[in-house]
Symmetry: D3
Subunit: 232 residues, 6 copies
């Protein structure tokens, strides 16, 4: 899946942009719901810290739940974008109201809570689950694509979505074809995040270090995670 | 601090209730902002898993950011309550609008985002920072209490708060005296969480396992965190 | 109905807690819509005043519309909880979004308006009417239970409610069985209110007397209601 | 005060319109906060029932809290308007954001809760209390007018209110002069309610009897209030 | 269509009120969506400026999108009301939640955006399109009325609308009959705007000239529109 | 001013991107409030139509009020972005809450209404006016910069803004220096719009033509504006 996401990112990236894919060294193989979200955080932060050490220009969190984006913003000097928020903001620029089609129903509340936090709930007509597990997206024999397409159809016809955001990084390769099939923009958050990140860098904007994303205060960390202790 | 929190909890607990305090075995010594929040999660989940194995009746997360409450709800059979939400819900029962006085300004956005997610933003007139670091609360020589009291005064006079929620578990012992001083209820989330948890248990309510908090799906976890892999 | 409600309350109450049921001495036999709500107020306030005189520790308003809770809070020294708000707050602690199943469609707007005021509208997916009149709940020959159960089923399947709050005190005895039937928590506001009240008392929290719930100012009252005049 | 309000109403009423002032036959001499609100309801409903019997074209509730408007709508065939909502809706037609200046601070939460219910919170920049008691408005020796004027000044300068709604029927006679003094529209709800009521009648609109305001169901009422029992 | 709208207005107007219908001298023959909205503005402003010169008492914008109401308020001394907002405010006085039935689906987002701006989104259960083009309403052979009626039926049964606002000036003549057919108030914005305007004038309220609607600053305008330059 | 804006845009644009500045051929010299907004529309639409004929890849509306963005989206095949929304979305990616500092107080309500429509009101702590007229920004002798800087300071200290969006295209050249001065990101909407537009183009996203932004229906246009009639 990392390869597929990296390929989707490279398709969009400018010539001068290098995509450095990173798979988390610890934690869940896929993120489906709040438990996986929580345990994905150290691996994500570890990857961000490594990339910071290599002075990257920005970090993209390729999980539609925007897992760990807030923590990564506190840690990193470079800007951080989650693919969920990337998709929502881009959708807001091309339609009045958008829909979201995600994987499992347990992810719907996570996405709804994010939309509430971002202020964009009113722009989203509905978050729909296709009941496709993340790893099924890797299996060519599954009918995952058909189920996702059916749900997009319902978003357009029943919810009057003017655009549809695909709610999983693993759907990145489907966006263009599904958009043509349904006659509305179908939006992949990975591509959007790459474009937004290039934009932030070009404009010269980085995360505000006043308030929510101030650098972590130096303090001891215990046990298994002692290596994560901020040095201030 | 664990001892102080446990003492505050025991003051409120019914005769038949046993408080089993647990300090996280890994992660930050105190939680101040999103970075600490993220790295506190594995330790919290580990503690919840251990307590589940001992068949406790409920779990209280004694961090005002309600760190990891969602993940713990997905993991646990028993109900889970965060002290932040506990304070907000109780405050909603005794006043029209409440204020919050927390520690550092970096915690304000975390709390505001939670209020948005819970739907209670409109009930909260303002989240104020006292610029008291969490561990300063342990230091008898600091003027932490005075600064917190000053901020409560502003919440009452300037924001017209009818009740004030103390935004840190480490302030638990101050609530009663500050309430008398200012003539409005001053609310400690630890006590509220104990009371709400006894209530849930007595009513026989546990976390819904349909939707957001469905049990984690079985899947492999990698590296340092492989021990957290759900077995389904 | 008072007996049924008292029984539901006693099932939940702690050993040291005495439930003192009171039936209003004046006003409607049941509350269905805004007109009944309004005329239920003097009887309710009268009952609260009598209970205050007996120095009770708290008052529970066993009408799902939370009729008169605000007035009772202004009058009483002891805390006051309505069973509607009790159910909503407890539901918020065990699921991402909850549904409500009430009696008649005329009660839906009352409940929706309350959810707006409490700030919890976004937590409630939908308020559904079962078209069961309050007093039908007393009639063993009616199919009330079946209609309520059908509506709970729709709340879970169509609205994706993770928990369902029963929107009438007269449904208190059905909660547990309906919960088992539908595989989600089904919540009775009476039990929740008892639990929350015990919690407030244990924590030592009473209604804020600054602002909305300041004690009524002394003034003359005329006619039939002159006995209600506050003496300040 | 009834005379003053009736005079304000007559100033605005069309030639063909007769204003029939009614003072409640029971309950509080003035309404200041939730307790008075609750006990004002039977008297209000009684007055509405009498007026219905005389086939009036509409009912105006001349209390800024819009006390009993919902119940009156359920009872009456003719439309019902509260002076609070009248002022808010009219203000919304002549400015982007309005302020409210009311009497005592205990009325602020009542008004804020109404704005939440009506959906107009976002249009109101702030509800301010002038700390003038309702009956002080009758006392020529008081400095009530000066205090109200000062608060209007703050609403304009500090809150950027483009119009100010006077939050008490007893202020009806002050609106025009205060508006000239401050250079923004100062709005009296009594006048607005008369104008809106004439409008509803002229357009031929009456309260919807489907849903919230369906006629009260026939049922027995007990005790002091048995005379209020709806006959269906 | 201007004639039909003027007739609807005159039906409601008081004896002393003269309706001066004006058809825009430039721009689209009908307004269907944002493009027509934008190009309707100069013609609308021109008409308002002419009417101001004739010292009218108020301006009604008879397009349900409330096109140009904000600009007209800045320009005019006399109050300005759009028929969309007029319908929404009146509907709010006679029912808990209202529905809207408009012409084409492209108008739905325009109306939803207005409801958001006015603060009344929560009062509106749903904006429905009947797929009737504006000019079809002029064609006696079309089945426009039947399609509008069908959509009103759905608003009442499926959305639980207690009143329905007709979302186009061209439907003004249908309101009364459709209301009788469906048993709920069906509301024509033209009539409501006339009634509200008479109300504002009678109360003596005009647009606030502080803030959003301050008179346009003097400045040069170029080209085709140079005649519109404000002289300050 | 067109030159200054074009220069700001070119500073950010990628190598392969050509910025084609266009000054409106008709309408106001600057946009300050709703009246100017309305009369700026035909000139804006004319410019967009010309650019469409030249097959540009996207259109940027360089007015912070996002004047005409909706109409342009309906007209154009290529995506359209306003500099106001561009600034808001970018600010949302680098801070929890942002402030806006604009020119005149009459522009504050326009911007607030846009934030409401976009759903981003909750992300914006406050829109502040610096009382600097748009054309003053061109005058080197004015103290415009100092007044803007003072207002940014208040946004940071008093409103706790973590980032500040400059509310006028004419401030584009000040962003970087003001950001350094105040220690928070100060955001220019022109640069953000260029970056977002490049992003949309790169991702291959264009305005949804289903719903709000469907192509204008063919119909006659009258008078001065007959040339704008859509041919369908």
């Amino acid at each position: 899946m990392t390869d597929k996401i990296a390929a989707a990112a490279r398709l969009v990236a400018s010539d001068g942009t290098t995509i450095l894919p990173a798979t988390s060294q610890m934690g869940p193989a896929s993120i489906e719901g709040y438990y996986d979200d929580a345990l994905a955080l150290p691996g994500l932060i570890d990857a961000v810290a490594r990339a910071e050490a290599e002075a990257v220009d920005g970090h993209i969190v390729a999980c539609f739940d925007d897992t760990g984006v807030d923590a990564a913003r506190a840690l990193a000097r470079a800007p951080v974008i989650g693919i969920g928020e990337a998709g929502f903001h881009m959708a807001s620029l091309i339609g009045h109201r958008f829909g979201v089609v995600t994987t499992l129903s347990r992810s719907v509340p996570v996405i709804e809570a994010n939309l509430d936090r971002y202020g964009l709930s009113r722009r989203c007509v509905r978050v729909r689950a296709s009941d496709v597990a993340v790893l099924e997206l890797e299996d060519p024999a599954s009918d995952a694509r058909a189920r996702i397409s059916a749900e997009i159809g319902r978003a357009v016809r029943e919810d009057h979505a003017e655009a549809v955001v695909l709610g999983c990084a693993g759907m990145a390769d489907l966006a263009r074809a599904l958009g043509e099939e349904h006659g509305v923009p179908v939006i992949d958050g990975v591509a959007c995040a790459v474009a937004l990140m290039e934009g932030l860098v070009r404009v010269g904007l980085a995360t505000s270090k006043v308030g929510a994303y101030a650098a972590p205060r130096a303090k001891p960390y215990r046990g298994l995670l002692s290596g994560f202790a901020p040095r201030g």
